[in-house]
């Protein structure tokens, strides 16, 4: 227990010390950070949807979001990519390689 606390505390000190050395020069581009964080949030939401929707559908939704919203492709392209990659994944991982995928109420 003590060892963990020691490592945790000294990590905190060093992190703060390192943080004070961040150069003030580079302004943070909040649009960019927003893009990254909303992608992360979308991923988190799709993981949360595993239980009700299952892996295949929630990931098709994520793909659709990234391609259509983040990369501004047409909605048709996005839908196509989403369906194709989700279906491809299901076939390769679940059927061919029998890697377990999180299952939803619909059974896939």
């Amino acid at each position: 227990m003590r060892l963990g606390r020691l490592a945790g505390l000294s990590a905190l000190v060093a992190l703060i010390a390192g943080g004070t050395k961040v150069k003030a020069g580079d302004p943070i581009d909040w649009t960019k950070v927003g893009r990254a964080l909303s992608t992360w949030f979308a991923l988190a939401v799709s993981v949360a949807l595993f239980k009700p929707l299952g892996f295949v559908i929630s990931f098709a939704l994520l793909t659709y979001f990234i391609v259509a919203v983040m990369y501004r492709r047409s909605l048709k392209t996005a839908a196509l990519v989403a369906v194709a990659s989700a279906a491809g994944f299901y076939l390769v991982f679940d059927r061919a390689l029998s890697v377990p995928l999180p299952v939803g109420i619909l059974g896939f």
Partner: protein, 504 residues
């Protein structure tokens, strides 16, 4: 003789059709991953780990190792054609490689990178073969004090791992060490920071951590930039370097191979530092240093050889001591354990087929890579034009499947998400995740070995100084800490002395 017999046995394993196929898959994937900026070997190997569960151990390790050394071949292609490192160890190659491409000499640059990689890669496999058996024999006599002091040396090297601030690297290493203490106490079995949850009582998983820090955060960094893909529009032309190119490159390739291999063995060094050292060395040795940065072929040949040799060198601590000297080896260590093999001094005796099979597969893999990277270069250039919008959801998908596949525990996906956003924010503020992961892995081993040492000595720390090998590691550790403090002053002192002496 023993080595020869082992190697023949190894080739018998490596040339089995299934293993040959997995070797090919590994080096092919490695090349692709190396070429694509933004997806590195640690995340790829971690992602593919669950796919190997149904494979035999030899095939699995052969494939995963192939990804590692294959990525070093691919990385140079992106550096030369796009001026963006496809892989972190190819940063230096951008300097002269891209300049060569701009001058219409992309072909020879790609060619010498591939040949240099092949020569260095093969050299390092020969060295692994010659050095591993005696090292493993010596390591059999290592007890917990020797292991602990060696790990201590590794910890001090970690701070040189990053290219940025040393302090930040130390901070990351300490965070990693702290995360390593989560889980059950290795001696008493008391839960530490587990909050009485089952997921954390096994500790934080290495796979979710790596996928988050290297997979998810990498995608986030790329999404934010919305990369503008600019492939250098040029006829690549003949890939074969001219006779003059070879004459210029022979020395850098030889020195880069040796340097990369020796540095690669050291824990914490990784494959990036050897490339910088090699570049600086060639520039200093050159009679025309002003050509560097303007398309000198030596500046491609040296570093590209160094990173491939370092890749081979870093296999040695894993195969003979069971210690991971860098992040990729940490993942590979995980892969060995998943397949029920403990890498280390006993592996050579208990699983000779696996050891020699992997070594022999590296000869085969290097030949495959040479063939893949030279005639097929046009294909790889096409991959660089692939739309990233399609690629990123796929990477995220594989990360999630990979994490879930290892444990079938949804909470591990949540842990990965946490590390993903943390990795992104850390990198934005200049903290690199590699020291964290390495300290996480080494920290657990170090804790175990120091506590075993203290049990042996009944609580006396003196045991670390009394055993000669352990004491030698301690001296080396002190040297690593003190040298950077002393050296600049010594140099300044010498320079002043030289300036003051009248005849200098």
């Amino acid at each position: 003789m023993e080595i020869l017999a082992g190697l023949l046995n190894g080739f018998a394993v490596a040339l089995e059709p299934a293993n040959l196929f997995w070797c090919f898959v590994g080096v092919l994937l490695g090349t692709v991953v190396g070429i694509l900026p933004g997806l590195g070997p640690p995340a790829t190997i971690a992602m593919l780990l669950p796919l190997t569960f149904n494979m035999n151990p030899a095939g699995a390790i052969i494939m995963l190792a192939g990804i590692y050394y294959g990525a070093k071949y691919g990385g140079s292609t992106t550096s030369i054609l796009m001026n963006v490192p496809g892989e972190s160890a190819s940063v230096v190659t951008c300097l002269d490689g891209y300049q060569m491409a701009k001058k219409g000499r992309a072909g020879p640059a790609l060619g010498i990178a591939a040949f240099g990689s092949f020569i260095a890669g093969t050299f390092s496999v020969v060295m692994i073969m010659l050095l591993s058996p005696p090292l493993a024999a010596a390591a059999l006599r290592f007890g917990p004090p020797e292991i602990f002091t060696l790990l201590l040396l590794g910890f001090t090297m970690i701070t040189y791992l990053g290219s940025g601030s040393r302090l930040k690297a130390v901070a990351m290493a300490l965070v990693g060490m702290f995360l390593g203490t989560i889980g059950l106490d290795p001696v008493t079995g008391v839960g530490r920071y587990t909050f009485d949850t089952a997921t954390l009582s096994d500790g934080v998983g290495l796979v979710p951590m790596i996928m988050g820090l290297f997979g998810v955060s990498e995608v986030l960094l790329n999404v934010e930039a919305g990369i503008t893909q600019e492939v250098f529009q040029t006829r690549i032309g003949s890939l074969l370097p001219t006779r003059a190119d070879w004459k210029d490159s022979a020395g850098p390739i030889a020195r880069g191979s040796l340097l990369g291999f020796v540095l690669g063995i050291l824990p914490g060094v990784g494959a990036i530092i050897p490339t910088f050292v090699s570049y600086a060395l060639e520039k200093r040795l050159s009679r025309t240093p002003e050509r560097f940065g303007r398309g000198a072929i030596e500046g491609v040949a040296g570093p590209e050889s160094a990173n491939n040799a370092a890749t081979g060198g870093s296999m040695i601590p894993l195969l003979t001591l069971g210690i991971a000297p860098n992040v990729v080896m940490a993942v590979l260590l995980g892969a060995f354990l998943v397949h029920g093999v403990q890498p280390g001094p006993l592996m050579l005796r208990e699983h000779p087929d696996l050891f020699w099979g992997v070594v022999a597969s590296m000869y085969v893999g290097n030949i495959m890579l040479l063939i893949l990277n030279l005639p097929l270069i046009g294909l790889w250039v096409q991959i660089l034009r692939m739309p990233y919008g399609v690629l990123f959801p796929l990477i995220l998908l594989v990360c999630v499947v990979g994490v879930y596949g290892v444990s079938e525990n949804v909470w591990d996906i949540v842990i990965m998400l946490g590390f993903g956003v943390a990795g992104y924010l850390l990198r934005k503020t200049g903290y690199e995740p590699a020291p964290l992961v390495l300290a996480f892995v080494l920290g657990r081993l170090a804790e175990e070995s120091i506590r075993q040492s203290l049990l042996l000595s009944r609580g006396r720390l003196g045991i670390l100084m009394e055993r000669p090998i352990a004491a030698a590691f301690l001296v080396a550790t002190a040297a690593v800490i003190l040298l950077p403090l002393v050296l600049p002053r010594l140099q300044a002192l010498l320079a002043r002395a030289a300036a003051e002496s009248p005849d200098a």
